[in-house]
Symmetry: C2
Subunit: 344 residues, 2 copies
């Protein structure tokens, strides 16, 4: 089969790799119907040292079960399924607490010996716990929105729920990428009273308004902080959803948090140390969030996607074939496209 590999910064190739086969009785093999490129894929795409061996990449996919091991009850060949961005047994103590990224028997797609999601097929470890069956056909128009259940929509939801977003919460969302916009959608779905979106790409912030943003702030850094403060009578907002992952984004996040407020971070951290001024301590500002337990939220978010109450798939603005994956990376890195579907 063909799959996407990353050989170093800017060097994405689609190559022939061995077909996946069942290795463990808990495995399934899934033929990929849709995959996509994630903003977090762009970090290694921008910085990975060149290597003779490519790394399998991609962690969001939706597809049809082709084969299941003997210990995968509840799934059968032909089922349409979505996979969260990490595989997990959904049964251990941590998973029971909704901490799937800490699953004792789970891991990352594309790790050594594990397929990436951007390929024609994937061997799925811990398939019983990992995969969620979808009650639609392979031709459903909902597939793009259902694919967001892999990562960006639950990640936005995680960001908002861990920040305690609900009715009467004022929210700032930092970042107008796919996760930022998903966080806007999630915050609106949870009833947030006010959602200030910080972003400077007008086509993206327009979609953010459609998703529920009540205001847009295009300024960044100190200027952006001042603008949010001025919009909120000097107070800042109760919740700040940090969807970028840079040090500057975190600084901005603490800058716009209201006393007693919460910064929730889901942007993949590109920092090893967090700027934390004396104000964050004095004003009891919390830091929550982390790698989202996407699997924990899929059943909760699925009905609203199926009913069309939310349309998170609107973040996809282009569809390319799998062989065009190198173009997809380039277009997203150049900010030509927001998020690209790959169709093997």
């Amino acid at each position: 089969m063909r799959a996407t590999l990353l050989y170093g910064a800017g060097d994405v190739r689609v190559e022939e790799v061995p077909d996946p086969v069942l290795r463990e009785p808990t495995d399934a093999v899934v033929r990929v119907v849709y995959a996509c490129v994630c903003g977090s894929d762009l970090w290694p795409y921008g910085s990975l040292a060149a290597s003779e061996h490519g790394f399998r990449i991609g962690h969001e996919f939706l597809g049809v079960v082709e084969e299941v091991g003997s210990e995968v009850p509840g799934l059968a060949s032909g089922d349409l399924v979505v996979a969260p961005f990490m595989w997990a047994d959904n049964a251990c103590g941590y998973c029971a607490e909704g901490l799937h990224p800490s699953c004792r028997n789970g891991g990352f797609w594309g790790a050594p010996g594990v397929d990436g999601g951007q390929g024609e097929a994937v061997r799925v470890p811990q398939a019983r716990g990992t995969l969620v069956k979808l009650p639609v056909g392979e031709d459903s128009a909902l597939l793009p929105s259902l694919l967001t259940l892999s990562d960006v929509f639950p990640t936005g939801h995680h960001c908002a729920t861990t920040a305690g977003v609900g009715p009467r919460t004022s929210v700032t969302v930092i970042g107008d990428g796919a996760v930022g916009l998903s966080a806007v959608l999630a915050a609106a779905r949870l009833g947030a009273e006010r959602i200030i979106l910080m972003g400077r790409h007008e086509d993206r912030t327009d979609l953010g308004r459609d998703f529920g943003a009540t205001e847009v702030v295009a300024e960044r850094g100190a200027e952006g902080v001042a603008r949010v403060r001025s919009l909120t009578g000097g107070h800042g907002t109760h919740a700040v959803l940090e969807c970028v992952g840079t040090e500057q984004a975190l600084e901005t996040a603490f800058g716009v948090a209201r006393p007693g407020g919460t910064v929730s971070r889901v942007g993949m951290p590109q920092y090893a140390r967090l700027p934390l001024d004396a104000g964050a301590f004095r004003h009891n500002i919390r830091l929550v969030g982390g790698l989202a337990p996407a699997r924990a939220y899929i059943e909760e978010l699925l009905p609203d996607v199926l009913d069309g109450v939310v349309e998170p798939g609107r973040i996809f603005d282009r569809t390319l074939g799998l062989d065009e994956a190198p173009d997809a990376y380039r277009a997203m890195a150049d900010r030509e496209a927001l998020k690209i579907l790959l169709r093997p």
Copy 2:
């Protein structure tokens, strides 16, 4: 009257200063019965640049009301009162949310124009909101424990409550200073199942055991982290109460936190940037705490102190006269004494 001033690192003087008088109708004047030295006073004591002008210091005191302004209902001359370590109106929106350090009309003792707590008397701004009347006499043996309501006991309580400590919570407390021991006491009072105290001063950790610590870890840094992990089957504890304020303490805190756990910080931050490794993100470890709203907790903690259910005053291991304040600072900085009462 006489009061304590800090002129620079290691330079504490007790000097004659003007007697406090009412300036605002919301003021009261309190004659100090007991003050004390705080671990946080030791930071400027260790590092303040030498100055010609001394800075009034001290933020914990208990005393007798001498005079009240016209807008201080509920308090009268002769009342025994305790003051939290910040003054606040206890009426604004932030105070109503229990965020007294963010009070729009509050501030710090010893700030320009405001008396410090280590003196014979104190002008108390926002006296109605700040002071809490104590139902005992000036000769009560409970006064040392009641004085801890100024700061260290509510600070320990804040650390534990914001970390969500309750029955079935496993807790690590970092630091065997007065705040660390108060955090042990607070965690035990809230029913924590297990309390691991990290500290290496045996006399202090012995008191920690009396206060409810179930285990003591004397190792520090990576060794200390490994020890706590080994005591907890590799998992770490649900709550980590950081009562030191150094970068190393924070690193240790994240190192011993269980996936999905909470680091609560109340040690006065001696860092501007927080070490946060990838594990903290992957495992969804929260950071909470901050400057404690001591005032918010006094009524809640007072009954247990009055009933002798808890004896937080046991952290005081020495009493000196106000004129001996320089000795008190030296003894605490040299770790000869844990926490020293000053009796004007």
